[in-house]
């Protein structure tokens, strides 16, 4: 009686009203919603009803896949591993730590010329930038130029938070492990003479990163002044305000730094290093021919079986070279088409034994 023993009962003298039935006449409303008779589309999944879906998927996916595949295949890409594991590699000497600075040169040949803007990446393998504790080890406030955070970085940066009683700027393991090889590209003209390829180092980071997320500490003075009372990350050779001579690309807003700070999703990744801009419509950006890559080898990856690569790639509307997606689309499309055919057969056979198949959606 507890539920029913409320005032309503005592006053009306009736059994408890169901929700919405307060009126004397407790007849429920005869509405489509309350009577669960809302007009509804009732698909029934049978071979007959579903097979159009499969064919449609197939018919859409296969062309898309082909398109993507062709696009991807049109992308020029060259990848040069300069880790130096191979003893014959010029960079092999740099594996030992005592050669500093170690500069090695790798020759390579472009069979085909690269048209349009060419993107120069460095690629790392077996580098777990997505490790949980690594990903966390940064202080976005500091990177955003917050003066308090600059001097008192977040605890997440431990153990790269302070060094010799000075706050590290930029703090954290990510910054500390920043990629610091220098790559230069030269085109060999006429055998011995070589010209340096102009590498644009601005524009490689996201615009929002460079302009919103990353900011140098406020102040009017030179960067060094603004970063005073901080110290450089342990692994760094020079402090953050000396990353570049260009004021717009120095300190926290150094684009190489910004790019590095965007932690990669997977242990094998590439990061944009430089852009080789097309100079004119007449000449390819990188004509076919011999090149050599000048590497200032600083970044030790050998110890953890990492790999370093330099990648030159043109891009298309859908980004860099990736044959997988095209293949995936074609495969899925084909499978779908195939399944559609199977269903068609089944539907046909089934239709002969029973005619439920004439139900359509």
């Amino acid at each position: 009686m507890a539920m029913s023993y409320n005032s309503k009962d005592e006053v009306d003298g009736g059994p408890p009203c169901a929700p919405g039935g307060a009126a004397k006449n407790r007849r429920p409303d005869n509405t489509a919603f309350k009577q669960q008779r809302l007009p509804a589309w009732q698909p029934i999944l049978t071979a007959g009803t579903v097979l159009p879906t499969f064919f449609i998927i197939g018919l859409i996916f296969i062309p898309i896949g082909i398109g993507i595949f062709v696009t991807s295949n049109n992308i020029r890409e060259i990848e040069i591993d300069y880790t130096g594991i191979d003893p014959s590699s010029p960079c092999n000497k740099c594996l030992s730590r005592n050669v500093t600075p170690c500069i090695c040169t790798i020759n390579f040949t472009l069979e085909q010329s690269f048209e349009g803007n060419v993107f120069m990446y460095y690629g790392l393998s077996n580098f777990y930038q997505n490790h949980r504790r690594y990903v966390k080890s940064r202080d976005d406030s500091q990177l955003n130029g917050d003066p308090t955070a600059l001097l008192n970085p977040s605890k997440e940066c431990e153990p790269y938070r302070r060094n010799e009683d000075k706050p590290i700027a930029p703090c954290g393991a990510i910054a500390n492990s920043m990629f610091n090889d220098t790559l230069e590209l030269f085109l060999v003209v006429n055998g011995s003479f070589s010209t340096a390829i102009p590498l644009k180092k601005k524009g490689i980071a996201w615009w929002t990163d460079k302009n919103v997320k990353f900011r140098n500490p406020p102040g009017e003075g030179p960067l060094q002044e603004r970063f005073k009372d901080t110290t450089k990350p342990v692994n760094w050779v020079k402090p953050v305000y000396l990353l570049d001579s260009d004021q717009d690309n120095n300190g926290f807003i150094n684009e190489d730094f910004i790019v590095w700070m965007r932690t990669a999703a997977l242990p094998t990744f590439r990061k944009l290093y430089r852009i080789i801009e097309r100079k004119s419509d007449l000449h390819p950006t990188l004509p076919a021919g011999d090149y050599f890559l000048n590497i200032k080898y600083n970044y030790p990856v050998h110890s953890f079986d990492g790999r370093k690569r330099m990648i030159l790639s043109t891009i298309s509307w859908m980004g860099g070279k990736n044959p997988f997606l095209g293949i995936a689309y074609i495969t899925t499309g084909s499978i779908s088409f195939l399944l559609g055919v199977v269903l068609l057969v089944i539907n046909h056979k089934y239709r002969n034994s029973s005619n439920t198949a004439d139900i359509t959606i």
Binding site: I44, V50, H131, N235, F304, T356
Partner: protein, 1526 residues
């Protein structure tokens, strides 16, 4: 005697003062009485108190508590109603505490708290708490809201006004209910609601009566009578509370509504017993009484009404139990993945640690973790990250869905009952889906299957049967009342008209009416009755029940008696010259009229006049002492002292004919009057007549002239005269009998406490001084009234009761004299008719009378008075006293009252049975009645074999069970059945008729009929397994004469042993235990009160709604919830899968590529709405299809939607989908410059899209709500992503997905992956669904297809001629519903020709199912196919046990050769009722194993004496008679 035992025997009882020091409190609580005294009185002086000075201390304490507001208030609840659980302060802790009873909440809070540990945290600690807090908050809000509405209604009740006597103002002042305290005097006016449990002290009613309506308490709308406490009833002036000095001792508050005991001690030391007639219960309404005054005894939460209230029931549904089991699997899975991950991380750490990897982050102190420590940390972190595998929101979602389901069930118009203006009530909120999985239904009979609305059908008086053909015709007309074109029904027409109808009827008509009636039961009657019922206005008074067409012969006799008596009376002759038969007839009708508790109400009954009369008649003031002295048992010294009573009384009583006192008083008075002035009765009568002018004429001597023409000339009989005279009866059969008597012009016109008035055409108004009413109780099974006959002045006892009881109480008749022989003959004839009535399914009552001599009466009276004034075991004493009175009865006759089947019961039962439900009927009725009702409602089919288990002893029961089992087992394997009869050897069973060989092939279903006594044996530990096994083989089981306890035991047995879902449905208090035991309890909110409803989970207005409730709503609820739960598991597993695969690429570091915000709110916000909408609205099969094909219900019974197998397939699919959804983006972004969140966000989007599409595949009906919800879900995700990714660049450390989503929208790769991944992930599922839908469609799918195809046209489109739906149409339809039947059952259809449909039944009676309202296609076909075959195949083999056999060998029951042989059945001397039963039951196979029906004289010694042996001759005669009917 009246002293409270605790007070009297225990010198230091801890009882009275339940207050004082804490240490004693508990002990005091246990005390059995409470003392109440007036709040208006100052503390009693010590000397005045019965307990003496020694107990002064105690008294002082007592003084404390009866002062309101003092310490006592803690103990005696005041009248403030507080049903709220929380206060403002206690809400948060208490609610949290309650919520943490749910293990899941604890789990999630622990996980969230784990986040505060820096070493293992995966998310921002505050953020991690968010979902848990959200869920806790939602639940808390819900609780708060509920509590607030409770509070509001409490307030409303607390602030109701009431007149309370104020000490200060010396008058009644208006107070709020909450201010009422124990000991207050309240004055209640008519139609006021009683605010607390009040002891009635004064009533404006002259007789000290008060009528209350207890509808609020038990739903009964009839008026109950309450009496003023003895001693206060005779007060002249208005009751003055200030003078009230008595002390009331009563029981501790308890919840027994039907019991109240106590005593009141007046100041002078006199005591009087109190009983429930003195108590006005809180929540009831005062009716028909101007004002009453009473003292509050129990207030507030100690009132019986509130003690009775129990909260809504929390049951855990089967689905939920299963789900919890799967949640445990999920936990195991979680632990496994986390362990795997932890080990992986350990290995990884060991591998990279010493290598000085650049990405290795040392500890804060520069050191590094050992791999093992790292693994442990990783394990914990993984648990946090993967916590969603345990669905947080699942429980909340399920609750939401269930609430919505309940809402929709409540709102279903088809479950709304027009007559009672009530719809289905869901009282339990969380077992809706159990409705879809029921396997066994346990049903009460009376009131559940039947209307509990009695219609007088026929009667027998002193051995003469009056078949009431006209009445039967009238009823038949009601049945046909559908079309108005019929000739007008002779309802309540004038006497002459009735006579003319009746007089030309001949007995021959009996056949016709009999046969029509029996057919009507099945089908078309349902609609007709509905029509007729719409016209009814009050309970028990539809025209069908009230307008009884009298049997002309009997009417003739009645009026002859009437005339004779009137003449005799006029001439002052003793009325002895009536022939015995006529006198019996007269007494019979008097008994029908007055032997009941029916209250006559006329709406315009003038109360004021009565009051005037009261004033006039009031006797001189009698003091309390005088009254008490009279009542004091000490005055009644013994049987012989009866005479001495009267002088003492007459002194105080002379001249007062109506004393509004208790029956004891009036009894004494009656005696005295009788002794002193026998003629006073005349005065009584005339006085009674004088009040109502119209009736005075017959009383005037000249008006009563014996006029042979009076029949025609006399003023019309009462019914047309006062049509507004209404009878309010406590039970419908009482009303039926009173209406029946009225039809014979013997009308009850007035019932007061001390007299009943009967109106007769010639005699006029006869007023019977009512000396006693010995109420009906279920153990005595009878009731009696003791009256003084106004004509003969004899003291007569009229008894009405169950035939089995009354027949045993008759005066043994000596076979010597003619009179005795005649009596014996009458009795045997009556018994014959009784059996016949029972066979017809009528409820039988025997009417008997006894004439008491003065001495006998005085002797009995003394003991009775003692019993009445007893405080202890008063009930027991009273019933013993009643038993002493009800002996040596003279049989007058018997009545047959039909309890009509409710609308649509046969159809509903047929449907439910098609749905695979086994229906057991557990009834307290006798076997014959029950069996016949069972036949009528199609519970027993024509072609069923009925196993009847009637055993007198444990051994007999065991033996019978063994035989039955042997038989059943033998018939189960196909081909085997032939062996058993032979192999059983001995040939103890003689098959009555040789069976045709082909009859062996199709095996009819079995049914079991068992009586209460055998049931008791069968429920013994040793036999229960056998019984259960046997019952399982039977399609339906009928337990007769079962007690409430047995009912619940049966349910419990089935529930625990068979592990099946059970549903119990009933309407009365006797079903409560069964309802409570069953998984799902359904109460019928009918006429027998609300106890059943109170105990139930669902309350339906009528039985037939069960069909829709189970088959439609139950199925939907189950299927919706099952699918939703599966989807939940899928969703969580799939989502967790994504994270888990990522661990392989992040060094098992418990890193997540999905942003923590998405991770935490994904389940809660983004993907929750669509599944809720689908869970609430999805309809796998439309209602029409479900109703048309009840067998679809089996999917729920077999748990087809949610099985372990489905669960694991679901999980496997989830794993596959997560693989696809992970590796497509992985490969697409492999070796790219994507950062973690630029890569993780597409995966989140993919997951969301996959979920939505998956849900799309699972959703069967897409309403605009589904579309909206899906669209909303997707939109919400992207909106949130956009807003979140642009809101701030430095918030949300450690991860910062600033501008990620915006960047992604410019990236074609994002769209391409979002397109391909979900589709690829779902292709297999879609494909397999399509394959399965085409190749191996489930019944549900077929039904859906069928429904869909037919929906544009009519719902019942012609079935596909080529592809019969499996299970839907006949062959397998009937087969699985019959558990005992094996494969050969399907051959039924093969051999229809063997039984030509030439049998009379087949030609006369339309196929049972064809008549049914429902015209569903498969049903029709099934029935159509069965119709020619089944009914014409009479398998009425009645294997007979040869007398003297202890071990019966089952005969092969089966077909009889022909109908004619069936007709010869009775001659075989087989138990009479059985054979007639088989005839009535449409010649079904009856396999009789009844011990009690053996010939009584040959009963074996090893069997203990059983029920009274059937009278052989009678039975034979009966059989003959039954045969005559055909």
């Amino acid at each position: 005697m009246e002293r409270d035992p605790a007070a009297g025997e225990d010198p230091a009882p801890p009882d009275r003062r339940p207050q004082g020091r804490r240490g004693r409190r508990r002990r005091r609580r246990e005390s059995r009485t409470r003392t109440v005294r007036s709040n208006l009185q100052p503390p009693p002086p010590a000397s005045a108190h019965e307990e003496g000075a020694a107990q002064g201390a105690r008294r002082r304490r007592r003084w404390w508590w009866w002062r309101p507001g003092r310490g006592g208030a803690q103990h005696l609840a005041d009248n403030r109603l507080k049903t709220t659980k929380y206060t403002l302060l206690s809400f948060v802790p208490k609610n949290l505490f309650e919520q943490f009873h749910r293990l899941a909440n604890v789990y999630f809070v622990l996980i969230a708290l784990l986040n505060f540990v820096p070493a293992v945290n995966a998310f921002q600690p505050g953020l991690a708490l968010a979902p848990v807090l959200f869920i806790l908050a939602v639940t808390a809000f819900k609780d708060l809201w509920e509590d607030y509405s409770r509070h509001r209604s409490d307030q409303e009740i607390n602030h109701l006004g009431c007149l309370v006597f104020s000490r200060e103002e010396k008058q009644y002042v208006n107070r709020f209910w909450r201010e009422i305290r124990v000991g207050d005097f309240v004055r209640l006016r008519c139609n006021e609601i009683i605010p607390a449990d009040v002891l009635l002290l004064s009533s404006s009613n002259p007789d000290g009566l008060c009528h209350i309506e207890t509808a609020n308490l038990d739903g009964e709308t009839n008026l109950k009578r309450r009496q003023v406490v003895r001693g206060f009833s005779e007060l002249v002036s208005e009751f003055d509370p200030l003078t009230f000095t008595s002390v009331i001792e009563c029981e501790r508050p308890n919840n027994d509504l039907s019991r109240f005991r106590g005593c009141i001690t007046h100041e002078n030391g006199k005591k009087a017993g109190l009983h429930k007639e003195n108590l006005l219960l809180r929540g009831c309404t005062v009716r028909n009484t101007e004002a009453v005054v009473g003292i509050v005894i129990y207030a507030g939460h100690e009132t019986k009404a509130l003690l009775n209230s129990s909260g809504p029931r929390y049951k855990r549904s089967m689905l939920e139990r299963q789900m919890n089991c799967d949640v445990l699997w999920c936990v195991l899975l979680l632990v496994c993945t986390c362990l795997f991950s932890a080990v992986g991380h350990g290995v990884w750490v060991r591998r990279y640690q010493e290598k000085k990897a650049l990405f290795d982050v040392p500890e804060a102190d520069g050191g590094s973790l050992s791999p093992v420590t790292a693994a442990v940390y990783s394990f914990l972190t993984m648990i946090i990250v993967l916590q969603v595998l345990i669905p947080v929101s699942l429980y909340v979602s399920i609750e939401i869905v269930k609430v919505c389901q309940v809402y929709f069930i409540n709102q279903d118009v088809d479950l709304y009952d027009e007559e009672t203006d009530s719809q289905l009530q869901c009282r339990a909120l969380n077992i809706t889906e159990d409705l879809g999985q029921i396997r066994y239904i346990f049903s009460d009979k009376t009131g559940t299957l039947t209307e509990n609305r009695m219609v007088f059908r026929r009667c027998t008086v002193s051995g003469m049967e009056y078949s009431h053909d006209a009445n039967a015709q009238r009823l038949a007309r009601y049945q046909e009342a559908d079309s108005d074109s019929e000739e007008p029904v002779p309802r309540g027409g004038s006497l002459s008209q009735r006579g003319s109808i009746g007089s030309h009827q001949s007995v021959r008509l009996v056949h016709r009416t009999q046969s029509t009636r029996s057919h009507r039961r099945t089908g078309s009657r349902a609609e007709a009755r509905r029509a007729s019922m719409l016209s009814k206005h009050t309970a028990f008074s539809s025209p069908m029940e009230t307008d009884i067409t009298p049997d002309p012969k009997l009417l003739e006799k009645v009026s002859e008696c009437d005339r004779c008596l009137a003449v005799a009376r006029h001439q002052q002759h003793p009325p002895a010259h009536l022939s015995p038969e006529l006198s019996d007839v007269f007494d019979f009708f008097i008994a029908l009229t007055i032997c009941n508790t029916v209250v006559v109400t006329a709406p315009d009954q003038p109360r004021q006049k009565v009051r005037v009369r009261f004033e006039q008649l009031k006797s001189p003031v009698k003091t309390l002492e005088g009254l008490l002295r009279r009542l004091s048992p000490s005055r009644l010294t013994g049987c012989g002292s009866a005479a001495s009573l009267f002088p003492a009384k007459s002194s105080s009583k002379s001249g007062s004919s109506f004393l509004p006192v208790l029956s004891a008083d009036s009894a004494l008075l009656g005696l005295e009057e009788k002794l002193s002035q026998p003629a006073q009765a005349q005065a009584v009568a005339s006085e009674g007549c004088g009040e109502d002018g119209w009736a005075s004429q017959p009383c005037a001597p000249e008006g009563c002239a014996p006029d042979p023409c009076a029949l025609e000339r006399a003023p019309p009989p009462p019914p047309p005269k006062d049509p507004e005279l209404r009878y309010e009866a406590e039970s419908p059969d009482e009303a039926a009998l009173v209406y029946a008597a009225r039809a014979y012009n013997c009308a009850l016109v007035q019932r007061l406490q001390d007299r009943v008035a009967v109106q007769l055409p010639h005699l006029g108004r006869l007023t019977f001084p009512l000396l006693h009413t010995l109420g009906f109780d279920s153990t005595r099974k009878r009731m009696s009234v003791v009256v003084r006959h106004p004509l003969t002045q004899e003291i007569q006892v009229y008894t009405k009761g169950a035939d089995s009881v009354v027949m045993d109480l008759l005066l043994p008749c000596s076979p010597d004299d003619a009179r005795g022989r005649h009596q014996k003959k009458i009795r045997s004839k009556t018994q014959n008719y009784l059996n016949l009535y029972a066979v017809e399914g009528l409820r039988t009552l025997c009417i008997a009378k006894r004439v008491l001599s003065k001495e006998e009466y005085a002797c009995w009276l003394q003991s009775h008075l003692e019993a009445e004034s007893a405080v202890d075991n008063r009930e027991e004493l009273l019933s013993q006293s009643a038993i002493r009175l009800e002996t040596n009865l003279h049989l007058l006759g018997a009545t047959g009252v039909e309890d009509r089947l409710q609308d649509g019961v046969p159809e509903t039962i047929a449907k439910l049975r098609q749905a695979g439900l086994q229906i057991w009927v557990l009834t307290g009725d006798k076997q014959e009645t029950a069996v016949n009702i069972a036949h009528a409602c199609k519970l027993l089919d024509q072609d069923e074999e009925v196993i009847t288990l009637n055993a007198d002893s444990q051994e007999a029961c065991a033996a019978l069970l063994d035989q039955c089992l042997a038989y059943v087992q033998a018939r189960t394997p196909p081909g085997a059945p032939e062996k058993t009869p032979a192999g059983g050897a001995g040939g103890r069973f003689y098959p009555l008729l040789r069976l045709p060989p082909e009859a062996a092939a199709p095996r009819p279903c079995l049914s079991l009929v068992i009586d209460g006594r055998s049931l008791a044996y069968a429920l013994e530990k040793s036999l229960e397994d056998k019984f259960l096994f046997l019952a399982k083989q039977c399609r339906s089981v009928l337990c007769c004469r079962s007690t409430p306890l047995q009912k619940s035991m049966v349910v419990k047995l089935v529930r625990s042993k068979l592990k099946a879902m059970t549903l119990a449905i009933g309407d009365g208090a006797n079903d409560v235990s069964m309802i409570q035991v069953a998984d799902v309890g359904v109460g019928i909110s009918g006429q027998e009160g609300m106890q059943a409803v109170m105990a139930s989970d669902f309350a339906v207005p009528r039985f037939r709604y069960l069909e829709r409730l189970l088959i439609v709503h139950g199925h939907w609820c189950y299927s919706r919830l099952a699918n939703m739960v599966l989807y939940f598991f899928y969703k969580n597993t799939m989502f967790v899968g994504l994270l888990f695969w990522f661990q392989f690429f992040c060094g098992f570091s418990a890193s997540a590529m999905i942003d923590q915000w998405y991770l935490i709110f994904f389940n809660l916000l983004f993907s929750s709405l669509p599944q809720l909408v689908t869970g609430v609205l999805d309809k796998d099969v439309p209602a029409e299809a479900l109703l048309a094909q009840p067998q679809l219900y089996r999917s729920g019974q077999n748990m087809e939607e949610y099985r372990p197998r489905t669960f694991w397939w679901n999980m496997a699919d989830a794993a596959f989908q997560s693989l696809v959804c992970f590796f497509i983006p992985y490969l697409a972004y492999y070796d790219s410059d994507a950062d973690v969140f630029t890569w993780g966000t597409p995966i989140t989007a993919i997951a969301l899209l996959t979920f939505l599409l998956h849900l799309g595949i699972e959703t069967k009906t897409w309403t605009w709500l589904n579309w909206t919800a899906c669209g909303f879900s997707a939109l919400l995700f992207f909106t949130v992503a956009f807003v979140y990714n642009s809101s701030c660049a430095t918030c949300y450390p450690p991860s910062n997905p600033y501008w990620t989503m915006q960047t992604l929208t410019g990236d074609p790769l994002f769209y391409l992956t979002c397109l391909i991944a979900p589709i690829t992930a779902l292709l297999p599922r879609l494909f397999f669904k399509a394959l399965q839908g085409s190749l191996f469609p489930t019944q549900l799918q077929r039904a859906r297809q069928l429904a869909k195809r037919s929906s544009p046209r009519k719902p019942r489109a012609p079935r596909d001629p080529r592809g019969p739906l499996p299970g839907a149409p006949s062959p397998d339809t009937s087969e699985p519903s019959c558990p005992g039947a094996s494969a050969p059952a399907s051959q039924d259809d093969a051999s229809p020709g063997s039984w030509p449909p030439g049998a009379p039944e087949a030609s006369e009676e339309p196929s049972p199912v064809d008549v049914s309202v429902d015209v569903s296609v498969p049903l029709r076909e099934a029935s159509g196919r069965r119709a020619p075959g089944r009914p014409s195949g009479p398998r009425a083999a009645v294997p007979e046990r040869r007398s003297g056999d202890s071990r019966a060998k089952p005969a092969r029951s089966g077909r009889t050769a022909s109908l004619s042989s069936v007709f010869s059945l009775p001659h075989f001397g087989s138990p009479g009722w059985i054979s007639s039963l088989s005839l009535v039951g449409g010649l079904g196979g009856v396999w009789q194993l009844s011990r009690s029906s053996l010939h009584g004289d040959k009963r074996e010694a090893e069997f203990l004496p059983g029920p009274p042996p059937p009278r052989d001759g009678d039975l034979c005669g009966l059989g003959q008679r039954a045969a005559d009917y055909f």
